[in-house]
Amino acid sequence: MRFRRSGGPAHRAESEGLLDAARGGQPPTAEADPLAHLLAAAAAPAEPGELSGEEQALAAFRAARAAPVPATARVARRWGRLRVGAAAWLAGLAATATAGVAFAAVSLDRPDEPAPPAPTTPGSTGGESAASPTGSGDDPTATGTPGAASTTGTGPTPTGGPGQPAGAGELAGHCRAYLAKSPRQRARALETPGFADLVTAAGGADRVEDYCLRLVPDRAPKSSPAAPATSPAARTTSPEAARATTPAPASDKAPASDKAPASDKSSTGRADTGKSGNGPAGAANVDR
């Protein structure tokens, strides 16, 4: 406000425009504001000197690939980072499963009772309201949906990929699903086409376990007690999680819209010092 006399952006919107222009890499016109030139210069393409550490960075990348054995401290840190994502994933899984079961129960009752009380779990109300619009009293559609919904609960694929454009998140999801299985089921699961990508990424069926433990190290110790752990999470988050996951049979885009913000928030928020104001940022994150 001290600079009222001078040129420069008069209000925040003008500043935002200048910043976005620089960010988009648009070259300013010759007669543009000197400030626009300054920002464009600051955001100019790389100069060779700036990339002098390239080989060093690549060496670090190679080393990390060659010896991925994580130090204890790093495991702890990574576990902290992944915890949010894993919790969201487990909640989604549990919610899908319970919603499917609850919905199946509800729809079995439906022919006799037109207004089912749905007393089972909070998740059931969410699941029902989302799934029933197609045919509220209709048996054929109603029975079709729960079957599909319960498949997503047990099947690893749709909920595993948290909807990133990249395949890596999907691989992590496959891994979690894989690690959640008993040793016997694991071998069989790897033969299914759903895990083909994982096998390819790991470089062979026998290396999947190591690969997965590296990718999602936090899942290793608690692979079996996963089921009891999920129920409280399901209770707290089931309404929205169920709503997001129930349409899964149509496509796996629906969980994406639910997951992306969660994983997004966790990815930036947790990598920070942990003091970030997650409340407002999370809200803003959703409109973006």
Binding site: G7, H11, L19, L38, L51, A57, F61, S263, D264, G277
Partner: protein
């Protein structure tokens, strides 16, 4: 650009070295420029520390804005570095560099531009840290205000305000140098430094990390 980036991230996570090289080339200039404003001449060292951690933690990257993820790592490394040093460099960029850059061939080549990259960054680095970071994250790293806010642990609105103040300050600096000596803008970038630069080092270093939002 963003799609290209996330493809490269996925490929690098699967072990593709060329994809990692692409990531480095895309992100390193911005990181280095941002770090220069934070730690001055040590920016390259801090940047390589950051890349070490990026390559190590890449398999754990769970999605979201990859630029924000990397810049958060870089920022944390910078804060560690400053904590180790317990002092901020007195000048972000040596003064000589600025006067040398006044006659930068680069500047002459690009007809439309009146100021070189390093001079521009040196000017931005004279801003109070909060404003400099907001401007750099938005314009140089290329984040939107929300994402920049998450990196800084502040609200998007606070980032917008800081960036706006920073731009107004920069406009004033430019104008002043323009009036006095139209030919040597970059050289003129130095005099304002004592005014804004003096107050900055001590108080803002510890303040940088805790969120106020």
């Amino acid at each position: 650009m963003t799609g290209e980036l996330s493809e490269a991230v996925a490929a690098a996570q699967a072990g593709d070295e060329e994809a990692f090289r692409f990531l480095y080339r895309s992100l390193q200039p911005g990181l280095l420029r941002y770090l220069t404003a934070l730690v001055g001449a040590d920016a390259e060292d801090v940047a390589s520390e950051a890349w070490l951690q990026i390559s190590r933690d890449l398999p754990g990257f769970a999605g979201g804005e990859f630029r924000a993820w990397t810049v958060t790592i870089a920022r944390n490394r910078a804060m560690d570095h400053l904590r180790r040093q317990r002092r901020r460099p007195s000048l972000p960029v040596p003064v000589q560099a600025l006067s040398e850059l006044a006659g930068d061939a680069d500047t002459a080549e690009r007809a439309g531009e009146t100021i070189g990259t390093e001079s521009a960054l040196a000017l931005i680095a004279t801003l109070p840290q909060r404003e400099a970071e907001a401007v750099l994250l938005r314009a140089v790293i290329g984040l939107d205000a929300e994402t920049a806010g998450r990196v800084l642990g502040r609200r998007a609105g606070a980032v917008r305000t800081a960036a706006h103040r920073g731009l107004r300050r920069l406009a004033a600096l430019l104008e002043r140098s323009d009036v006095r000596q139209p030919s040597g803008r970059a050289e003129q970038a130095t005099p304002p430094r004592p005014r804004t630069g003096r107050g900055r080092p001590a108080p803002s270093a510890p303040k940088a990390e805790p969120a106020d939002g």
